[in-house]
Symmetry: C2
Subunit: 359 residues, 2 copies
């Protein structure tokens, strides 16, 4: 077995210890005589798995008691509809468009009411986060929506928008558990787990209890009501049980590493190694305004498409994989999530230096 | 490691060979240097996994070219809404209610139009399949809906209803791949995979191409349109990639066993062992009309709640687990899906005989 350094934007690298445990437990989970894949989701042993996962997440993120944690399906894309269907009481919401995923959420919301684009960074290919300190948010907006870390463009909100008393809803798919967060500032904070937490097919929604009501838009499917899942503690129907089990193992791994403060420190150190090199390199340049740089997704270019392609190819041959930029922007992108070891970033930078010298 | 005989109704037993392969490949899938959980769903290696899975399923079920195969999320419960949202052009559909899941589908459809209950077996606790040879189906019904195998009650349609020219939609969650099926008789044939195919979190929808249209009900979320997923070949957003990979391994396993004809023969033999015993036992009785018995889910009772509980407890201690009946019906239920070896059924019957002698 030979593991590569996997810089995929998601699904993405997971901690090797977690995968090893999953392999060891595949045929017999802790003496149960079966795989977690084979367990009734209503069994005592699975109940302990999902309850422990939730408790560990609550501890890691310091989630207040008046928030529910839901393990759902359908990815962020399904939340794009679920959020307005559940929250658009006045049929109006404010969207800040900082990339493709925020834009998709904004477009989906237009099916259900008036989605108002209150800020955007599309004018400069989403390479920055707009000033959100004093936006013109409609008085009757039901919520303000952001995508907090933009996977494709490599930007991150350093300060949250001034929502002016409105409910803040944030997609944190690509920065989930990368640093401490004050959950009480959000009405909903949610994300697909397939970047920083676990296998694709689980979306975690952390939602303030007063936002969970029967009062959804007409025609909302039972499965798309937060209340359905909150009332049933994520067991209304069979959940993506194995994925939740892996998420739970990652929560344990983060706890063992020291929690989110330690994650933040590690992530800042890793990102600094890469950004410092990009700032001094004559061949490679970052594409994002410095103050808005993501700790998780680092896009960069040489300015020459052929050279970009040569780099990606040679990097792959050297064991640094999935460095090709998103198909909509080109260039390169290194996603350096929690599970990417510091060593992986150091070796990548050494490889980039060597490539620069040789080309 | 000691594996039990797992009679869970779902999530349920999987072939040991499949689990062993999954364990072996957990840290490095076939030289890729990563787990399938860590792979970009747009990578070449994952593309081959999902394409091979689809091709194998098409071969096993002999799926005609004018049907699409979709790997989706949200379980059957989400299909209960997705089906009317996509198919109810005339806002009318006919439902045959043969158990809890058909009933839930029927109730959900009422959100979107007129769902007409054209037959039901609720009068006798869903212990039989009604005569569906000449039902009063409204002329303008958009489709006729059935749940083909009723997991909780242990019934199965031996012949499909006479849909009188209407589109037939079938939930086959608990009989998926248990025997050959003529796909061309259905408009949609779908099921959650967590009973006979793979881990919870994947639902497979086989849909005739002419039913995939832009013309969905107003307010249908993008993620709940079949067209969204058909156009993107199940990669509109990140799919439940690891679950699909396990499904693919189970398809391979079934192919290696000889395909669906062989599965049917095995399943009939296994079910006969259990039903023959129930028919001769003085203590245990089956609860279903003989001609409607499921090959997959076998409910039975002693007629004495305390004795039922004693049996379930002693069986568990002997390594026969998850035999307790569904919480809504009580008694016992042995689910004997494809992956349950004949030996497991034989040993269960031997245990039941011994229990009967001793009690």
């Amino acid at each position: 077995m030979s593991r590569v350094y996997n810089f995929s934007a998601g699904p993405a690298v997971l901690p090797e210890e977690v995968l090893q445990q999953a392999a060891d437990e595949m045929l017999d989970y802790q003496g149960s005589g079966m795989s977690v894949m084979e367990m009734s989701h209503r069994s005592k042993v699975y109940d302990s798995i999902i309850k422990t996962a939730e408790a560990d997440l609550r501890e890691l993120m310091n989630i207040p008691d008046n928030y529910k944690v839901l393990f759902l399906q359908g990815g962020a894309s399904q939340q794009f509809a679920m959020i307005p269907m559940n929250l658009m009481k006045n049929k109006k919401a404010a969207y800040i468009v900082t990339g493709q995923w925020a834009k998709k959420a904004f477009q989906e919301a237009q099916i259900y009411g008036e989605a108002v684009k209150v800020a955007s960074s599309e004018d400069e290919t989403f390479s920055y986060i707009p000033d959100c300190s004093d936006l013109d948010i409609p008085e009757d907006a039901d919520y303000v929506y952001i995508c907090e870390n933009n996977t494709i463009y490599g930007t991150k909100y350093r300060t949250l928008p001034n929502a002016k008393g409105h409910i803040l809803v944030a997609d944190v798919s690509s920065c989930f558990l990368s640093e401490p967060v004050d959950v009480s500032k959000y009405g909903i904070i949610y994300g697909g787990v397939q970047k920083n937490i676990g296998p694709a097919g689980v979306v975690i929604v952390i939602i303030r209890e007063d936002l969970i009501t029967e009062d959804t838009l007409p025609g909302t499917p039972t499965m798309l009501k937060y209340k359905t899942h909150a009332d049933a503690e994520s067991l209304y129907n069979t959940p993506p049980a194995y994925g939740i089990y892996i998420c739970g193992k990652v929560f344990q791994w983060i706890k063992n590493m020291g929690g989110l403060e330690v994650m933040k420190q590690r992530n800042e150190e890793k990102a600094k190694i890469l950004y410092d090199f990009l700032d001094e390199s004559k061949m490679f340049q970052g594409t994002v305004r410095k103050e808005d740089r993501s700790l998780m997704n680092v896009p960069f270019v040489t300015g020459d498409k052929d050279l970009d392609a040569k780099f990606v190819k040679e990097a792959e041959a050297a064991g640094f994989v999935n460095l090709k930029g998103h198909r909509t922007v080109g260039g390169m992108r290194a996603s350096i999530y929690n599970a990417m070891p510091r060593e992986g970033v150091e070796k990548l930078v050494a490889f980039m230096k060597k490539f620069e010298e040789e080309n």
